[in-house]
C-alpha cells in the first residue's frame, strides 16, 4: 500500500475513528469537541493531499474486500469524489466550531451522542464520495442513512420521532431501490465499478433491464436528492438542531443523493446508455418541476428553516438538471454547484441558527429590524441570498451560468427559462428577509451573535465570494470541477466563465440583474412602510404577482399528499385484510394445507400437459 493509498483509507476512516474517541470522552466536553475538531481538520487535510494525484491522472485506489468478482468494497480518490469530499470535510470544520457555540448556548442534551453521530455521518459521506463502485457507495450510503437518524430525532419530541420515522422510511426505501438496480446491473453485467464515461460491462444489458437499472437508481438516489415527489422527508427533518439541518440537510446527506445521481449518469451507466434508456427526458422534466415547485413551496413558508429546506430541494435539482443535460458545460455547472450551493446554503442555516440562539426567533415575519442589531450575521445572509439568486460575481452565478450554457448546448431553451424563473423566485423568498432585517423597525434588545457562531457564518459567506471571484485558483474547486468534465468528456468547455460571453449569456445576466433591481425596489418600499401596513402590502405583492402559481402549488401539495395517503391506505388495508385471513381455528389451518396440496398438484399437472 503506497502512502497515497493509506491517505485515502484514512480520509474515509479518520471520522469513524473519532467515534470511539468521542464515546470515551463523553463526559468531558472540551477534549470531546477537540476530537471532533481534530478529526474534521485531519479529514480535510487528507482529502486535499489526494488532489495532486487525482489531477495527475493516477488517483489513489484501495480495495478492502471482495465478495465476488466485480463486487468489492473499494475506494478511489478521483476528482468528482474529491470535489465532494473536500467541500464536505471543509464545511465540517466550520460546522464543528459552530456546533460548539450552538449546542452549548442552548444547553442541548445528549451532546456526546450528537458529536458522535456527526462524526459517523461525515465518515460515511467521505465513503460515499470516494467509493470506487456502486456496491461500496451503497454500503456507505446506508451507513449515512442510519447515522443521521439519531441527529434527526435529537430533540426527542413526538414531532422529532415522527420526522425520524418518515426519514428512515423514505431513505431506506430509496436504498432498497438502489439495491434492486445494483442487483440487476450486477446480475446481468457482472460489474459494479465506476468508470469515467460509463462502465463498459453494462453495454451488454438488454434494453428493459437497462431501463430498470436507470430508473431504479435515479429513484433511489432521488429520495436523498429530494426530487419531487420524493422530497417529503426533508422539510420534516428540519426539527433537527440547526447545524444538522445545515451541514447534513444542505451538504452531506442530500448531496450524497445528488452525487449518487452524478455517479450513476456519468460513471456507471455513462451518457450513451442514459440516453438509450430513455431516462434523460424524464429526469429533465422531474428536475425542472422540482426546481419550480419547491421554490413555490418556499415562497409560502413563514418558518425560516422550512423556507431554507424548500430552497434546498429546489437548488439540489439544479445539480440534477445539469447532470441530466449530459453536456460538458452542464456537467461543469452541476459539479461546481455542489460546492457553490453548499457554502451559500450553509451560510443561511448558520444565520438561522445564530438568530434562533440569540433572539429565539424562527419565523421570517419576526425578523424586522434584527439586521441593524446583528449586522455581521445578516450581512452574511444577504451575501448568500444574492448568491443563490444567481447574481454576479458570486459562486452560484458561475455554476448557474454553465448550467444555462449547457441547456443552450442541448437545445433546451425552455430549461433556461426555468432557471431564470427560479432565480426570480429565489429573490422573492430570500430578499424580503434581508430588507426586513435591515430596513424595517424592530426590537432593540438584540445583540450580535457570539463569536463561535459568527465566525463560521462570516467564513462561509467569504467562501461564497471567493468561489465566485476566485475560479482561476490553481487546484481550487473550479479546477477540480473542470477536471471532472475533462475526465468524462475529454474536453473542457470555456476555460474562463468571464472570458467569452455569448449574446444569450449577456441577456440572461442583464435579466437577472434587472429582476433583482425590481424586486429589491419593491421590497424596500414595503419594508419602509409603517409596521401595521407591512403585512398587507407584502401579501399584496405576493398575491398579485404569483396568485395562480401559489394556489397551484398548494393544489400540487394536496395532490401529493392525497397520492401518499392513498398508497399508504392501500398498503395498510392490504395488511389488515391479510391479517383477517389469519385464524386461530385449527380446522381452518388444515384447510391451508389442503389448499397448498391442490395448488401444488395443479401446477405440476400443468407442467405435464
Amino acid at each position: 500500500m503506497t502512502p497515497q493509498d493509506l491517505t485515502l483509507l484514512l480520509a474515509v476512516f479518520v471520522p469513524f475513528l473519532a467515534v470511539p474517541g468521542i464515546a470515551l470522552l463523553r463526559r468531558r466536553p472540551n477534549p470531546r469537541e477537540a476530537v471532533s475538531l481534530g478529526a474534521s481538520v485531519a479529514t480535510f487535510a487528507l482529502a486535499s493531499v489526494l488532489l495532486p494525484g487525482a489531477f495527475a491522472g493516477s488517483p489513489a485506489t484501495v480495495e478492502l474486500f471482495t465478495v465476488a468478482p466485480g463486487l468489492s468494497l473499494s475506494l478511489r480518490a478521483d476528482l468528482l469524489g474529491l470535489l465532494f469530499a473536500t467541500v464536505a470535510s471543509f464545511l465540517w470544520i466550520l460546522t464543528t466550531v459552530y456546533s460548539l457555540g450552538y449546542m452549548r448556548a442552548l444547553r442541548e442534551h445528549a451532546q456526546a451522542r450528537y458529536y458522535l453521530c456527526f462524526a459517523s455521518v461525515m465518515g460515511a459521506t467521505m465513503g460515499v464520495a470516494l467509493s470506487a463502485s456502486l456496491f461500496s457507495l451503497l454500503i456507505f450510503y446506508e451507513v449515512l442513512t442510519i447515522s443521521t437518524y439519531p441527529l434527526v430525532i435529537h430533540e426527542e419530541t413526538e414531532e422529532a420521532y415522527r420526522a425520524g420515522r418518515k426519514y428512515l422510511a423514505y431513505t431506506l426505501g430509496g436504498g432498497g431501490a438502489i439495491l434492486a438496480g445494483l442487483a440487476i446491473a450486477y446480475g446481468l453485467g457482472g460489474d459494479t465499478g465506476f468508470v469515467a464515461g460509463g462502465n463498459p460491462a453494462l453495454a451488454a444489458l438488454p434494453l428493459p433491464a437497462l431501463q430498470a437499472v436507470a430508473f431504479l437508481l435515479i429513484a433511489g438516489f432521488g429520495v436523498k436528492a429530494t426530487l419531487v415527489p420524493l422530497h417529503g422527508w426533508l422539510p420534516s427533518a428540519m426539527v433537527a438542531p440547526t447545524p444538522v439541518s445545515g451541514l447534513l440537510h444542505a451538504v452531506a446527506v442530500v448531496k450524497a443523493g445528488v452525487f449518487g445521481i452524478l455517479r450513476t449518469l456519468f460513471f456507471f451507466l455513462g451518457p450513451g446508455l442514459v440516453i438509450a434508456s430513455g431516462a434523460q427526458p424524464v429526469l429533465l422534466v422531474v428536475a425542472a418541476i422540482t426546481i419550480l415547485a419547491a421554490s413555490l413551496f418556499a415562497l409560502v413558508q413563514d418558518n425560516f428553516k422550512l423556507r431554507l429546506a424548500y430552497s434546498t430541494v429546489s437548488q439540489l435539482s439544479y445539480v440534477v438538471l445539469g447532470a441530466a443535460l449530459l453536456t460538458p458545460a452542464a456537467l461543469l455547472g452541476a459539479s461546481y454547484h455542489i460546492a457553490a450551493h453548499g457554502f451559500a446554503k450553509l451560510t443561511m442555516f448558520f444565520v438561522a441558527g445564530a438568530v434562533a440562539v440569540e433572539t429565539g426567533k424562527t419565523r421570517v415575519s419576526e425578523f424586522d429590524g434584527i439586521g441593524r442589531r446583528m449586522p455581521g450575521t445578516m450581512a452574511a445572509f444577504a451575501v448568500a441570498a444574492v448568491a443563490l439568486a444567481g447574481l454576479p460575481p458570486l459562486a452560484p452565478f458561475v455554476s448557474k451560468g454553465f448550467l444555462a450554457s449547457g441547456a443552450w448546448e442541448a437545445n433546451q431553451a425552455i430549461l433556461v427559462l426555468v432557471l431564470l424563473t427560479s432565480s426570480v423566485l429565489n429573490m422573492m423568498y430570500f430578499f424580503p428577509i434581508v430588507t426586513r432585517a435591515f430596513l424595517a423597525g424592530g426590537p432593540v434588545d438584540v445583540r450580535e451573535a457570539r463569536r463561535t457562531l459568527k465566525a463560521p457564518v462570516l467564513l462561509t459567506a467569504a467562501g461564497v465570494i471567493l468561489l465566485g471571484v476566485g475560479i482561476g485558483l490553481p487546484s481550487g474547486p473550479f479546477a477540480v470541477a473542470e477536471g471532472v468534465v475533462g475526465g468524462v468528456y475529454g474536453v473542457v468547455p470555456y476555460g474562463d466563465v468571464y472570458a467569452s460571453w455569448s449574446a444569450e449569456r449577456l441577456v440572461e445576466v442583464l435579466f437577472v440583474v434587472a429582476a433583482a433591481a425590481v424586486v429589491l425596489a419593491v421590497l424596500t418600499r414595503e419594508a419602509r412602510m409603517p409596521r401595521e401596513r407591512i403585512g398587507k402590502n407584502l401579501e399584496r405583492l405576493y398575491v398579485v404577482a404569483p396568485l395562480g402559481l401559489l394556489s397551484a402549488s398548494r393544489g400540487l401539495a394536496r395532490v401529493f399528499a392525497a397520492v401518499y395517503d392513498g398508497f399508504l391506505a392501500a398498503v395498510t388495508g392490504a395488511g389488515r385484510a391479510a391479517r383477517r385471513l389469519q385464524t386461530g381455528d385449527l380446522n381452518w389451518n388444515s384447510v391451508g394445507l389442503a389448499l397448498a396440496l391442490v395448488a401444488v398438484f395443479l401446477w405440476l399437472l400443468l407442467e405435464v400437459v
Partner: protein
C-alpha cells in the same frame, strides 16, 4: 484408525444424543444446583458438537460417509456441515442465554435436554444420506420442538403447541407418503443413488408435490404457515430463537434435500423450481403484510420469519429452476444470516419481555432506552433483517436479488421487484418497532441487565457485522453447500 475416522459423521450426533442424556442426568445430581449443572452441560456438549462439525470441515468432492445399519447412511457433505454448524452454533448461544433466562424454572434439565435433542434432529437432517434418516431426524426435531413450544404450560402455550403438533404431524404424514413414492419409483432410499435414477414421470411428480406440501408445513410456506405465529410467540424466547432461526429452515432444507433427487437446473426431470419461486413471492408478501399490523413484538418477529422464509425459498426456487449458483448462495447465506439476526432479535425481545413483563410494542415504548443492550441489539437485527448494509443481511439479499435477475427476462425483473418491494414493505414494521423501542420520551432510568443475557446477544450482533464486512469467513461454509446443491458434491 480408519474405522474411527470413517465414523466421524456420527460424532456430532453422538455428542448431541449423549449430551441430552448427560444433561438430564446432571440435573438430577443436586436439588439446588441441578439446573445450573444441566445448563452448563448443555452448553458444553453443544460447543463440542460445533467443534466436531468444524472438524468435518469442507469435505470437497468426497464427503465422509458412514453407514452404521443397512442402507441408512450418514454423509457429511457441504450442506450437512453448513446446517450442523448453524444449528449447533445458534444452539450453543441459546443454551448460554437460557442459563440465566430459565434460571429458577423447575424444568430446566428437561428444557436443556430437549434443546439438545432439537439440535440433534437438525444436525441429523443435514447429515442424513438417505430419505429414511432424513425423515427420522426430521421427526426427532419436530417432536422435541412440540414439547418446547408448550414448555411453559400456560393455556396460550398449550394451545399453540397443540396446533403446531396437529399441523406439523399432518405435514409429516404427507411428506412420508412422498418419500414412500420416491422409494417405490427409485428402488432406493439413498439420496445420491436416487438422484441418478430415472423415475416414472407421474410418480416423480406426485412425490415432489407431496414433499413440497409436506415439508412446506414445517417451512411455513404460505398457505401452510398458520401455526407458526402462535408457536413462535408462545415458546420461551430462547426456543423462539431456535424455531425461527433454524428449525423452519431445517424443514426447508429437508425439502430441498429431498427435492434435489429430481435434478437441478437443466438436468431436472420436470420443473418444480418455478413453483417454489412463486410460492416464495406469495409467502414473503403475506408474511410482510400481516407483520405490519402486529402489536406483539414476538408475533411480529414470527410473521417476519415467514416473510424471510419467502426470501430463502425464492433463492432455492430459482436455483433449482435455472441452476444459478448465486441464487443458491444467497439462500444458504441468508439462512445463516437469518439465524443470527432473527435468533438475536428473539433473544433481545426475550430480555425486554422478562424485564418489563410484556410483549406489547406500545407498552415497550422506550424500553430499549432503559435496557440499551437489548434495544440497540434489536435495532441492529431489525436493520439486518431489512437488508441494510453493512450488516450481513444486506449481502445475502443482494445475492438473492442478483440470482433472481439471472433468471432472465421479464421473470427475472418481476422476481427482483417482488423481492425488493417486499423488503421495502418490511420497513413498515421494522422501523416503527425499532424507533419505538429506542424512543426516549418514557422513564429514563436504566435497568440492570445480567451479563449472561447480554453477552450471547452481543456476540450475535458482532457476527452480523462481521459477516457483513468480511463475508469470506461465512462464504467458506456457504460455498461447499452451494456446490452440493448444484450437484457437484
Amino acid at each position: 484408525m480408519p474405522l474411527a475416522w470413517n465414523a466421524l459423521p456420527a460424532l456430532p450426533l453422538l455428542l448431541l444424543g449423549g449430551g441430552a442424556i448427560a444433561t438430564f442426568l446432571a440435573g438430577r445430581v443436586s436439588r439446588t444446583r441441578g439446573g445450573d449443572a444441566s445448563a452448563a452441560t448443555a452448553c458444553l456438549f453443544l460447543g463440542l458438537a460445533f467443534v466436531s462439525f468444524l472438524l468435518l470441515g469442507d469435505p470437497g468432492g468426497n464427503p465422509a460417509t458412514y453407514a452404521p445399519v443397512g442402507e441408512a447412511t450418514l454423509r457429511a457433505d457441504g450442506l450437512g456441515v453448513f446446517l450442523g454448524l448453524v444449528a449447533t452454533g445458534l444452539g450453543a448461544v441459546v443454551a448460554a442465554y437460557s442459563f440465566v433466562y430459565m434460571r429458577g424454572h423447575p424444568g430446566r434439565p428437561t428444557y436443556a435436554a430437549l434443546l439438545l435433542l432439537l439440535v440433534a434432529g437438525l444436525a441429523g437432517i443435514g447429515l442424513a444420506g438417505d430419505l429414511f434418516n432424513l425423515y427420522a431426524f426430521f421427526e426427532l426435531m419436530a417432536l422435541s420442538s412440540y414439547a418446547l413450544v408448550a414448555f411453559h404450560r400456560t393455556p396460550e402455550a398449550v394451545e399453540a403447541g397443540m396446533k403446531y403438533l396437529v399441523m406439523s404431524a399432518a405435514g409429516s404424514l404427507v411428506a412420508l407418503v412422498g418419500i414412500g413414492l420416491a422409494y417405490l419409483a427409485g428402488g432406493t432410499l439413498d439420496l445420491g443413488a436416487l438422484a441418478g435414477t430415472a423415475m416414472p414421470r407421474e410418480i416423480a411428480l406426485l412425490s415432489a408435490g407431496l414433499l413440497i406440501a409436506g415439508f412446506g408445513v414445517k417451512a411455513a410456506i404460505v398457505p401452510m404457515h398458520t401455526w407458526l405465529p402462535d408457536a413462535h410467540a408462545a415458546a420461551p424466547s430462547g426456543i423462539s430463537a431456535m424455531l425461527s432461526g433454524i428449525v423452519i429452515q431445517g424443514g426447508l432444507l429437508a425439502m430441498v434435500r429431498a427435492l434435489a433427487v429430481f435434478g437441478v437446473g437443466s438436468t431436472a426431470a420436470f420443473s418444480y423450481g418455478l413453483l417454489l419461486a412463486f410460492l416464495a413471492v406469495l409467502t414473503m408478501t403475506v408474511g410482510n403484510l400481516i407483520a405490519m399490523h402486529q402489536r406483539d413484538i414476538k408475533r411480529m418477529l414470527a410473521y417476519s420469519s415467514i416473510a424471510q422464509m419467502g426470501y430463502i425459498l425464492l433463492g432455492f426456487g430459482i436455483g433449482f429452476e435455472f441452476g444459478i449458483a448465486i441464487a443458491f448462495a444467497g439462500a444458504v447465506f441468508h439462512i445463516l444470516n437469518h439465524a443470527l439476526m432473527k435468533g438475536g432479535a428473539f433473544l433481545a425481545a426475550g430480555m425486554l419481555q422478562q424485564r418489563f413483563g410484556t410483549r406489547d410494542l406500545t407498552a415497550l415504548r422506550g424500553a430499549g432506552r432503559r435496557m440499551p443492550a437489548a434495544g440497540l441489539s434489536f435495532a441492529v437485527f431489525a436493520l439486518g433483517l431489512a437488508g441494510v448494509p453493512p450488516t450481513a443481511g444486506f449481502l445475502s439479499k443482494l445475492f438473492l436479488a442478483t440470482g433472481a435477475v439471472q433468471a432472465g427476462g421479464a421473470l427475472g425483473v418481476f422476481l427482483v421487484v417482488a423481492l425488493i418491494a417486499n423488503s421495502i414493505l418490511s420497513l413498515a414494521y421494522y422501523v416503527p418497532a425499532m424507533t419505538g423501542l429506542l424512543a426516549g420520551d418514557g422513564p429514563k432510568e436504566r435497568t440492570r441487565t445480567s451479563w449472561g443475557l447480554t453477552v450471547p446477544v452481543v456476540v450475535l450482533v458482532g457476527l452480523v457485522f462481521l459477516f457483513g464486512m468480511w463475508p469470506d469467513l461465512a462464504l467458506r461454509v456457504v460455498d461447499p453447500a452451494v456446490r452440493v446443491l448444484l450437484g457437484g458434491g
